[in-house]
């Protein structure tokens, strides 16, 4: 049980992530955009906040890739472009898709969920890098920043909607129950 064997396991984990991404069927980019917008619209209606998804969610298309964004590219504090929760939490995210045949595959994503003021952990950020890092033990391709940008822990939830599921039905629920 050495550091080297830990690195080998981290390499294997990144390989598994690669396979999961390749095996994950996503619709064409515009369809993914529409599905996310419909999902967020439904979630927004369950809150008392005015989140105008029609204005908040943006898509940018190039020849090769498609970028879907909500909120600022870097979270530096609350803005009108964030998705706002009743708890006082906020969310911004960006995901990059590559069109393939009849669908698309995930290239990268960043979901930055900021807890309400006073919470011991300030934020959680779910990241997917576009490539493996030379040190996959320190920086797995798919990782979670638990309130600090320098710490990256592996996680395996990869579908764009599944991550939103965790944010809306796990994180927000936990805050609501805590009161």
């Amino acid at each position: 049980m050495t550091l080297e064997s830990a690195r080998q396991r981290a390499i294997a984990l990144d390989s598994k992530t690669e396979r999961q991404l390749a095996d994950q069927p996503l619709g064409p980019p515009k369809e993914v955009f529409r599905v996310i917008r419909a999902y967020l619209l439904r979630r927004s209606e369950e809150t008392d906040q005015r989140n105008n998804l029609y204005a908040l969610l943006k898509i940018y298309t190039t020849n090769d890739l498609v970028q879907i964004d909500l909120g600022p590219p870097i979270d530096k504090g609350p803005t009108d472009s964030h998705f706002r929760f009743d708890s006082g939490a906020r969310l911004c995210f960006g995901l990059t898709l590559c069109g393939v045949e009849d669908g698309s595959r995930l290239v990268a994503f960043r979901y930055h969920y900021t807890f309400p003021d006073g919470h011991s952990v300030k934020f959680l950020r779910f990241d997917l890098n576009d490539e493996v890092h030379p040190d996959p033990l320190a920086e797995p391709r798919c990782h979670l920043h638990p309130g600090t940008k320098d710490l990256r822990l592996p996680f395996s939830v990869l579908h764009p909607i599944e991550i939103l599921d965790r944010i809306f039905f796990v994180l927000e629920k936990a805050i609501a129950e805590k009161g």
Partner: protein, 195 residues
């Protein structure tokens, strides 16, 4: 053509949802690619209404085929596509089967603008199903504007402390990190080839 409201598919689908996911409405395709737009309408309806959406072509369908398509099943959403335009005779025959076309799920008539006059003149019974629910397919929302793209690029540049040009040079040299913010930066610079 009367001055109908232009709405993106998203808002049209929302309108149907707010009405309880039932009823009839007309969406007019003003220009563009009839088939591509129809696919996008179908996807948007499916995403918002959270139910299957079938497209049924009006033109080749017989009375029996149409009745069966609308009632088996009866509760999904159906887009009745008129294609490039329907003849007055077709509208007359559709109008006769109005009661056979009533169903619990929503119906969207996807028509060419020139169909409106024929619908009004030769299918008064169907017109009564629709009421005033006519829309022109408007531009889809959510497209990032040039000003928004520039603003995001500016935020990225200020945050990381180097310019767009340097970001591209770093990517070309394999020195740009692979975090999602940098991927977005390259995409917004139309340099997806470097990702």
């Amino acid at each position: 053509m009367p001055d109908f409201e232009s709405q993106p598919f998203f808002q049209i689908a929302r309108r149907l949802e707010i009405r309880g996911g039932t009823g009839w409405l007309v969406v007019l395709n003003p220009a563009g690619d009839f088939t591509t737009d129809l696919n996008e309408l179908q996807t948007e309806l499916q995403s918002v209404l959270q139910k299957p959406v079938r497209v049924v072509e009006l033109e080749p369908s017989t009375f029996e085929q149409l009745r069966e398509a609308l009632h088996d099943p009866d509760d999904d959403a159906v887009v009745l596509s008129g294609g490039p335009g329907l003849a007055p005779e077709k509208w007359r025959s559709l109008d006769i089967m109005r009661s056979a076309m009533e169903r619990s799920g929503p119906v969207v008539l996807w028509l060419a603008p020139t169909d409106v006059a024929n619908l009004a003149n030769f299918a008064p019974n169907i017109r009564s199903l629709i009421g005033s629910e006519y829309f022109i397919a408007g531009p889809d929302g959510g497209i990032m504007t040039e000003a928004e793209r520039q603003e995001r690029l500016k935020e990225l540049s200020e945050h990381f402390g180097f310019t767009d040009e340097v970001a591209v040079r770093k990517a070309e040299a394999g020195e740009l990190p692979h975090d999602p913010e940098f991927v977005e930066w390259l995409v917004l610079l139309n340099r997806g080839d470097l990702v």
